[in-house]
Amino acid sequence: MSTELTMTLEVFRYHPETDHEPRFQAYEVPYDEDWVVLDALNWIKDHVDGSLTHRWSCRMGVCGSCGMMVNGDPKLTCAVFLKDYYPRPIKVEPLVNFPVERDLVVSLDGFMDKLEAVKPYIIRDDVNDTSGGEYLQSPAELAQYKQYSMCINCMLCYAACPVAGHEDEFLGPAALALGHRYNKDSRDQGQAERLDVMLVGEAIWGCTFVGECTVVCPKHVDPAGAIQQAKAVGAQEFFKRFVAPKGAGV
């Protein structure tokens, strides 16, 4: 490093084999105004402490691996710059509302189950056949769901959601937005199946519209909006089913 400027990273450390409680470890890192927080973590791992553990890959904000709490805010560490904090120290922690595997690595188990639960794939009655060409979908029909298809599964929204932290049954912002994405896709016919999952217990109704998921979303997915829309559809469906139970031809 040509520069002598440094700054401090206070990093959350926890090792499942030896620790019962997490601790914070401070590292001095070179200050480079082009560096993102992830660059500093990689520098520590390469040069100072190979045991520091974090996930990362694309370092361009699309693979969704490197979400962490940066000074208390859920952020993609490849997208926040040291210069935004310099010269104050930066506190780096694993995403909240998830169990910590080690250091900055959290468990995705619950999240993956929730994603799968909403049946995030096209459901249709007809036979899958490519010989007839593509299903037509107008740009206006595409626009109906496009925004909700932009989720990179970085899970920042779960870290920002107080309900996700307190209510296990709640499917959470990303999974619900994904379910809504398929419900709004003109090629899909699976809304009823998805609502079977989403309308149970706190699955969707757990959302109290705090709205912080949308605030922290790095891809402008607006999960809060998607959930409210899905709730409106769900409420209609709920009453329909109340009036004429399933199988009665609603």
Partner: protein, 601 residues
Amino acid sequence: MAHGTTHEHDVIIIGGGGAGLRASIAIAEENPDFSVACVSKVYPMRSHTVTAEGGAAAKIKPNDSLEDHIYDTISGADWLADQDAVEYFVNEAPSEMIQLEHWGCPWSREPDGSVAVRPFGGMKIERTWFAADKTGFHMLHSLFQTTLKYGNIVRYDEHFATRLLIDGNGRCRGCAAIELRTGSVRAILGKAVIICTGGAGRVFPFTTNGSIKTGDGMAMAYRAGVALKDMEFIQYHPTGLPGTGILITEASRGEGGILVNKDGYRYLQDYELGEALDVSDPRHPQKRAMELGPRDRLSQCFIKEKWAGRTIETKDGHVVHLDLRHLGEAKIDKKIPFVRELSRNYAGIDPVYKPIPVRPVVHYVMGGIDVDSNSATSVPGLYAAGECACVSINGANRLGSNSLTELLVFGAQAGRHAARFAMDNPDYDVSELEAQAEDEGARIRRAWFDTSRRNGERIVTLRTELHDAMENGAGIYRNADSLQSACETVADLRARYRSVTLDDHTNSFNTELTAALELGSLIDVAEAMAHSAIERTESRGSHQRLDHTERNDDDFLAHSMAYHRPDGSPPRIEYKPVTITKWPPGARTYGAGSGLKGEDR
């Protein structure tokens, strides 16, 4: 490494990117009673397919033809592609792309609701399907989400495969893999195996590739005795952001963006790439010309401009300017919004108002695991697909937007052939494979957890030296001296690799250990690249030798085949003829009127 449990399935897929997921679905859908294991060192949606931007090529529009797509691909490959494979690829591409559309990929659309296509480099006509400029992201997520439909796809997320398990009859029957969460080495067994682990751009320092692209699958096959084919062919994408190497998609030029040097001059017109039409000319951007020339040529032009002193010097090296301003804000936001987001965030430039500084950046490995036109390797039961494989449709230079389609076409094909092999060869001896996996766990422990070994070199020291050696020795232009020096450095690093020491000797989520194993893969792959390159004394496509500047079809219309030597000495390089069917080697021309086939020219 603790010995973990044994898991049995019908087919094992290593890698959860586009090719691995497509293969998983192909098997799961057509063989409902089969159990498919998808083993990946990251969660599938983190796979590097996610970063692909511009699009995926397939003939869909009535004004296009399969023949043209074939010719563009073969000429783009500088005739090093196997033409039977290219024909299969192009013929299968449309139905595979429609299939992905049926699975929910949010393709951008024409007003009539049909999928929209855009022009791409080296293509005679617009045939690149796109989902704005996040095509790879949408393809990967559509595929991943579709796999969730199949109960017979079992994912092994965050399992790092380290070794192929080969039975006494020489058939590949699974892999040993470290479960990252616990650090135990599992034996994941099946009747056939497909490697879909992607490329190895991380051999180089300046690359669009994410940190996971370390050539692990290529190295695993190489060590198991399979040849790495055409490894000297490494694609530099002409437009990466300086400093970070983040990709600015070719779609920005497909939509009409232009490249200019420090004088604001469209320098490509000086390099036999056609005439510089005014950006307001309705014929701009012209296909197979200027900014829509092939990537190898454009990256080479950059170097020549740099040698001529006409590039712009910055603290992150020399750059030229990619100017999109004439496209206007509305078009940029609609067609290439991610370009704007990336430029603003990582270069501090808003392309609506200012040109983007760009320079060539390592992007793709044309070479890979040698497979035949059925995606089968020389080891029975072992298949490969995607960037890690070399079929070869990409030859000496891949055309932009062929690789995403390749994931689908050959992922599905490899899946079907592997399933057939599994049906025909169901029996294997579990205990001998378990013993191999156990042995692998012990080997890793011996190599990396020996606490008596202290103060060895750090991973980063070797990795940095490898990067420098490959960039300086095996970059866009090479010669015997530069390559010789790269070969020597790689050999030296191979020797020193054994004495690298780790800070971390614990089991759970030991990413320092995986980084060390990845460094081992990088060294293997770099060795194959450097030695294949030094042996090829001609210039073709992306392999440009300053000491052998012409293409030499008499001696080198052939695939290089690098074979690993277990004793650590340099690889054996052999050659295998290119399959030529209907398109005899011709001059590779770009510019007005180019792209005419054979006798028409």
